[in-house]
């Protein structure tokens, strides 16, 4: 079967599943929830960082998914549709209030003090610094940057998730990086971390 034929079948299956959800079929809604929850969570996490309200936000995203699923036409996959909504929920969450950067003490303790544990601590501290810096840049840039650079999605996909043009998305990612680079000039840990996230950077 060709890729095109697979896409057509998947789109039809997604539309069918969405229609059953619209009809209020709990089993279908649960199928969507179980099938998409990791992607929704991952999208929220990438944009917001570790967040004490994550459970609420995942729930908000799925409520919005099911409340708007009647508008799903199958132009994208159901997964992309859910990720788009998760992106909007994260965006709204940032606009509602500036989320606190991950406090290190909120992160589960690492019992072992070997090299792996130290690496994890350094990585978490760097992530905390990154998200603290992201709190200070415009939300559109933050969303584009985290999805493109932290999550590593293609720019075209980021543009689709944010309902934006490719050019605007590129500009937002570039401006975000420029802003973060400026902040990293005073923060060596952030500097190293940004270098590692840079395409072609790191080892």
């Amino acid at each position: 079967m060709t890729v095109r034929a697979l896409d057509v079948r998947r789109a039809a299956a997604d539309r069918d599943l969405a229609a059953r959800c619209v009809a209020g079929d709990r089993a279908s809604q649960r199928e969507v929830f179980l099938g998409q929850r990791e992607r929704v969570h991952r999208t929220l996490y990438r944009i917001l960082g570790n967040n004490s309200e994550m459970e609420d936000l995942v729930q908000e995203a799925f409520l919005e998914v099911f409340r708007s699923i009647a508008r799903f036409r199958g132009d994208s996959t159901l997964g992309t549709w859910c990720a788009t909504i998760a992106t909007r929920v994260a965006w709204a969450s940032i606009e509602r209030r500036k989320p606190q950067a991950t406090a290190l003490e909120l992160v589960p303790e690492i019992a072992d003090d070997g090299p792996d544990a130290r690496d994890q601590l350094v990585a978490r501290d760097a992530a905390r610094r990154l998200y603290a810096a992201l709190d200070k840049i415009p939300v559109a840039q933050r969303v584009a940057f985290t999805l493109a650079t932290v999550e590593g999605l293609p720019l075209a996909e980021v543009a689709a998730l944010t309902r934006s043009t490719l050019v605007a998305t590129k500009t937002r990612v570039w401006r975000a990086r420029r802003d973060l680079e400026r902040r990293a000039a005073k923060d060596p840990a952030l500097r190293v971390y940004l270098d590692e996230l840079r395409p072609g950077g790191g080892s």
């Binding site: 996490y45 995942v58 509602r96 003490e105 999550e151 590692e196 950077g201 080892s203």
Partner: protein, 336 residues
């Protein structure tokens, strides 16, 4: 992006957290299905109007109790016997450090700090407020001839007669303080009239129910609890405590301890666990909640054995407790 180094790991949600999200999500969807009407006027509101979490689950349960429903999921075409109209787009208010004052229908609602409420309906069709967490105070016009105004918090439903009152929620428990007028409280099928100057607590009510149905198993010594529960007292049918008689209300220090532990969860979960554990060992109405909370938190912290031990202790001590079903489900999910 192929050459980039690893992005920070995504901290996974625990299995219990996913179960909680799923439970609350589908409870909220049930609530959606039960409620259909235009959005209310709001002076202050969150940009994304979305229904609540824990309260929604409780709402479904309590509405069933109120309406005498046979237990099936509410349907949008089924008229509510409590006369509450519905809203297709509930509005949600979440506060952070500062509270917020909202005009909703014909009521003024003061949402306390670190609180969340979801509001359905309007002044002409009736109002349903779901207190998800924290505290909210209400000034509501007398309902004589007006549509119903109901506040739900965890397992508690408050039907307003016309009053000023405050509802505070801690986990699945709630407390109602009436300043003026009176309200009718429904909790786990029990009704109580709470008058001006009186307080009502679901913890008092629950313990009273437990004491009314003595079970030898309850008296089995829980290995975790090293102090006996208080001697049973008959609190009367309504379990309402006039403020002039503070004896039957939860000891203020215990309540404060519990709330302190709950607040501590976000910043220092292990310290919160220690506080819950200490409180669970004491006598008094907050011990049950603290014991369950300690078990839940231990599970969330990955302390499987401790969690199972605490939850089993809770079930031994309070087999009919308000959190018993959750405790059993949690033990099962932990493989205990």
């Amino acid at each position: 992006m192929t050459d980039r180094r690893e992005a920070p790991d995504v901290e996974p949600l625990s299995q219990i957290a996913w179960q909680r999200v799923e439970r609350d999500l589908f409870a909220a969807l049930d609530c959606d299905a039960a409620v259909v009407a235009p959005p209310p006027r709001l002076r202050t509101w969150a940009p994304w109007a979305l229904a609540g979490s824990f309260a929604a689950a409780a709402a479904t349960l309590v509405l069933v109790l109120l309406s005498g429903h046979d237990g099936g999921a509410p349907r949008s075409d089924a008229p509510r016997s409590d006369g509450l109209a519905s809203a297709s787009t509930p509005s949600r208010v979440v506060t952070q450090q500062a509270g917020s004052e909202i005009s909703f229908g014909d009521a003024m609602i003061t949402v306390g700090p670190a609180s969340a409420v979801t509001m359905h309906g309007d002044a002409t069709r009736g109002v349903l407020i779901l207190l998800e967490r924290g505290e909210a105070s209400f000034a509501v016009a007398p309902r004589a001839g007006r549509p119903p105004f109901i506040v739900e918090a965890g397992e508690v439903s408050v039907r307003v007669v016309g009053t000023r009152f405050t509802v505070s929620r801690s986990g699945e428990s709630a407390r109602v303080d009436v300043t003026e007028g009176h309200v009718e409280v429904v909790s786990r099928g029990h009704r109580a009239q709470v008058l001006a100057g009186e307080s009502w607590s679901s913890v008092d009510d629950r313990e009273a129910v437990d004491r009314h149905t003595p079970d030898p198993d309850e008296l089995a010594a829980a290995p975790f609890v090293d102090e006996p529960e208080p001697v049973a007292e008959d609190p009367g049918p309504a379990h309402v405590t006039p403020k002039a008689k503070p004896k039957a209300t939860p000891a203020p220090d215990q309540r404060a301890l519990y709330e302190h532990a709950a607040a501590l969860e976000a910043t220092d979960a292990r310290a919160a666990l220690a506080e819950y554990t200490a409180l669970a060992r004491r006598k008094g109405p907050w011990a049950a909640n603290a014991m369950y909370a300690a078990g839940r938190l231990a599970a969330e912290l990955g302390e499987r054995d401790l969690a199972i031990k605490l939850l089993n202790s809770y079930l031994t001590k309070f087999p009919k407790g308000g959190n018993a079903a959750d405790a059993r489900a949690m033990i099962e999910s932990l493989g205990g």
